[in-house]
Amino acid sequence: MNRHLLSIADLSKEDALRILDTAAELARVTETPVKKLPTLRGRTIVNLFFEDSTRTRISFEAAAKRLSADVINFSAKGSSLSKGESLKDTALTLQAMGADGVVIRHPSSGAAHRLASQKWMNGSIINAGDGTHEHPTQALLDAYTIREHLRDSNGDLQDIRVAIVGDVLHSRVARSNVLLLQKLGASVTLIAPPTLLPVSVESWGVNVRYQFERDLSNFDAVMMLRVQRERMDDAFFPNEREYSRNFGLNLSRLNQLSAECIVMHPGPMNRGLEISADSADSDKAVIVDQVRNGVAIRMATLYLLLGGE
């Protein structure tokens, strides 16, 4: 495996499965009274968040602490970052403090890559979301959740059919998921209005649909994406009611899904917009499992990147 986790594209299928398998063993251990493992004792992991986040930051923090690492949280608000310090100077500061791993979230695509490639610091870099580019650990925890529910926690996702619905254009979660799901053998269908699909989407090797309605019973997993209003500087759809009617997962669409199909959402949810409360709280929803699995995936990632260093 590489020293950094910047993009799903950098992982081989074997690397990805290794992370999933390691997470599965760690999940078993942390289900027992053993909550804490001494593996990363004495290492420092910095959560460097230039963008608001609750679950990802808390998830990384919980994962690092369960491995006995020291965690420093660094968020843009209330730090020198809001005074205009550059990424380079921040990196040099972290290097001087001896950070062994840096978990970075940044509004600009490529920020994690820049941090990793500029030799400003020696630590491992983990991309926790860069702009509209990638969010690799989210894709890994989604694949883990799909495997847990549909494949008995074993092997790859060959022939699993996944629908990713909604704001693909602004979604780093969708990009990482498409790459990883394809790597693991799943077939992916993107469902979105044309305005919320990236320009070159036909080169992704996925099925694309502009309507949600058709053949919903064919999917094994339906992943709803958050409508990212904070990234929308233009009108991408006429109004919320129309979006919700055409692309929201409501009760009637939920009832068309097959009995085994699971409903996923990376969070935070806009209840009533892309997903109705009925759907979010239904038996098919595995949204809370996704959050729980996130900790195991991040423990596995931290262990595999930092454990042997």
């Binding site: 495996m1 290794r18 398998d21 390691t22 063993e25 760690l26 078993r28 251990v29 027992t32 009274p33 053993v34 804490k36 493992l37 001494p38 593996t39 491995l67 262990y303 595999l304 454990g307 042997g308 260093e309």
Partner: protein, 180 residues
Amino acid sequence: MSSDFSVVLDQGEIARSLKRIAHEIIEHNKGTSNLVIVGIPTRGSHLAARLTQMLSTLEATNVAMGTLDTTMFRDDLRGSAPRSLGRTELPLSGIHERDVVIVDDVLFSGRTIRAALDALAEHGRPRTVQLSVLIDRGHRELPIRADYVGKNIPTSRSERVKVLLTETDGVDEVRIEGRA
């Protein structure tokens, strides 16, 4: 490299060693009622399963068994590629106040066993912890000794002791590689 080896235990000898160890465990613990046999993945788990089978047959009872992965508790992880994790699966009845016998294939530096003791402590407080190994090859780096030993084999540090088991390797055999 690997063609240059000598066999120190064959299938029959491995089976006889395990059988003797099983008898010693029963004798020392005055039965099997309070025992939990805990194997260290991967080969220790298979040896533990065999021992548990023998103990259960000898005493006509079901002896509790589990596996314990020590990877995350090791103190020598740094400086080498990250190890893959094995399975940890302890009996539901737990290990509290039980007599735990840790089973591993080769006892060498003692660092795996130290990690196993730490890992075990996370799951509860056993009444006693005993250690059974198929091969003791010496060169301890920690004050750790085995209670039950299949065979003591003096080695030099540069040699490699390889335990092959039918479950993983298709054959029961203990080899020493790299002997001058």
